[in-house]
């Protein structure tokens, strides 16, 4: 789930983009973790995430994925994730997870100060934290900032630059709605970390304010 570390976007957009996911460690809490991972996902599901999934089975936006079957299929080593779009709901999820005391490792990707505050209100102190230091190297080979904002929502890189451009084009030509285009991108993301609601918002904004206006070079 380093794939959730490097999501790009302005602070306002990132405020509506939180990925909560579970992880286990071999020899520590992985063995026998499957029922706990399923319970984690059941708790997340109660709060209506915009996406959920696991990398072995796929995400809820894929054609033949049924959520009950997805949850039933989680195994001991599964890395399962759910995406929420507001801190208040995330707070409720965290509080319920604390009460459930599952003993599996739970992580959140999102604005660090907001997540810290969420932990404080839930009565816990965060254990470890990780920052992105951005993109280095041959940044001149990257596409426009807007394309990067879609692409980095699936850090495994399953949503190609070409697909993103095609979806933007389809919305521009009014052949697809922002919702349809966002869902198409979400289908490519295997682990369920892609935020289709944020993608839809970005596409709607583009339709209102113009498409791909930013420079190609992705400077930090």
């Amino acid at each position: 789930m380093t794939n959730t570390l490097h999501r790009r976007g302005n602070r306002e957009d990132l405020k509506r983009d939180y990925v909560i996911f579970v992880h286990t460690a071999k020899g520590k809490n992985r063995e026998g973790a499957a029922p706990k991972i399923r319970e984690f996902m059941r708790i997340c599901r109660k709060y209506h995430p915009v996406n959920m999934g696991d990398v072995k089975q796929g995400s809820m936006h894929q054609d033949d994925i049924e959520i009950d079957r997805l949850i039933a299929g989680h195994e001991d080593g599964t890395v399962a994730a759910a995406v929420f779009t507001d801190l208040e709901t995330l707070q409720k999820v965290v509080e319920e997870l604390i009460r459930a005391d599952l003993g599996i490792c739970i992580n959140i990707s999102g604005l660090l100060d907001e997540v810290k505050e969420c932990c404080r209100r839930a009565g816990i102190t965060r254990h470890s934290a990780e920052h992105s230091l951005g993109i280095w190297g041959a940044k001149d080979r990257l596409p426009e900032r807007e394309v990067m904002e879609f692409n980095t929502m699936c850090g495994h890189g399953m949503v190609s630059f070409n697909l993103i451009r095609r979806m933007i084009e389809q919305v521009r030509l009014r052949r697809m709605t922002p919702q349809q285009a966002a869902r198409m991108m979400a289908k490519c993301c295997e682990c369920g970390a892609f935020n289709p609601l944020r993608a839809e918002t970005l596409l709607t904004r583009m339709r209102e304010q113009g498409f791909l206006n930013s420079p190609r070079t992705n400077r930090d």
Binding site: L5, C105, N107, R126, H127, I135, W136
Partner: protein
């Protein structure tokens, strides 16, 4: 069609490929391809650039196999063209099921292990990019007080990387004496951690991205970032860099100070381990 393999299309072969007898050149796989390395050949059939393909299998997984006979699709096209109309399949469809999933052999299998997130890394047992980072630090104590974790993901976002580029980075970092994470798929491919040299025979393999994962003392962060600053100019791809540490008892993040001292900006977003894993690691454990 997810998970339902097209048995007629599978073959034991070295690379992701497109069955030319079935392909109707609709171009959907060109759009879905994460590396943008599928194109039309002179016969109007799609072809994969095998040097640049990273075997992520996204085309195979995402494109639903409609399984139409190729003659049927071509006939429809011909009829439509009489009325000056075109045939456009939905973007997530392969009308004829022309994509074939190979059984990869060493060293090409590395491409799938580092690029296809549904493949579990054989060395770590973790799918995705196969890393642990801080995700289970509450139970493993991998990063202790005073230690910093550095994750250097080469090829991300969206460009991919050859192992010859990845090796340049491991060679640049090795003299600083890092502890390369033993349970990491890239570490498993480093032949000598003191020099950063990788195993022979893999340097021409391309992956979607690979994560070098190491830990060091907090005060060495500036030196590592300086080394990365230098080597980034020598590679023809992008690198996503992350820094992690165990929080102090009041929740503050100790690596922030060292990154800022080195002159780098920290992202407002990142990853937080909530500390709910059990049994919780104690600092006095060996």
């Amino acid at each position: 069609m997810r998970g339902a393999l097209n048995l007629h299309a599978i073959r034991v072969g070295p690379t992701m490929d497109i069955d030319k007898t079935r392909c109707v050149g609709c171009g959907n796989c060109h759009i879905i391809c994460t590396m943008g390395v599928i194109s039309l050949d002179e016969e109007g059939k799609s072809v994969v650039n095998q040097d640049e393909c990273v075997e992520c299998a996204t085309c195979y997984r995402v494109l639903r196999n409609e399984n139409y006979p190729p003659w049927f699709v071509r006939s429809i096209r011909k009829v439509l063209s009489l009325f000056k109309l075109g045939y456009l399949a939905d973007v997530d469809i392969c009308p004829t099921g022309a994509l074939t999933l190979p059984e990869l052999v060493w060293p090409r299998v590395l491409r799938a292990q580092f690029s296809n997130p549904t493949v579990v890394h054989p060395g770590t047992g973790v799918p995705g990019r196969g890393t642990d980072e801080i995700k289970s630090n509450d139970v493993t104590g991998r990063l202790r007080t005073g230690e910093a974790g550095l994750v250097v993901e080469i090829g991300r976002p969206g460009l991919g990387a050859f192992f010859r580029d990845i090796e340049k980075v491991t060679i640049a970092l090795a003299p600083l004496g890092p502890v390369f994470e033993p349970e990491n798929p890239v570490t498993h491919l480093i032949a000598d951690t003191t020099t950063g040299r990788m195993r022979e025979g893999i340097l021409d393999e391309k992956v979607l991205s690979a994560i070098i994962e190491l830990k060091t003392d907090m005060e060495k962060i500036p030196a590592f970032l300086a080394a990365l600053e230098k080597v980034q100019r020598e590679i023809d791809t992008v690198v996503s860099v992350g820094v992690a540490s165990r929080c102090l008892p009041d929740g503050t993040i100790p690596h922030e100070e060292w990154v800022q001292k080195a002159g780098y900006a920290l992202s407002p977003n990142g990853k937080t381990n909530l500390g709910l894993g059990r049994p919780l690691f104690r600092e006095d454990e060996p």
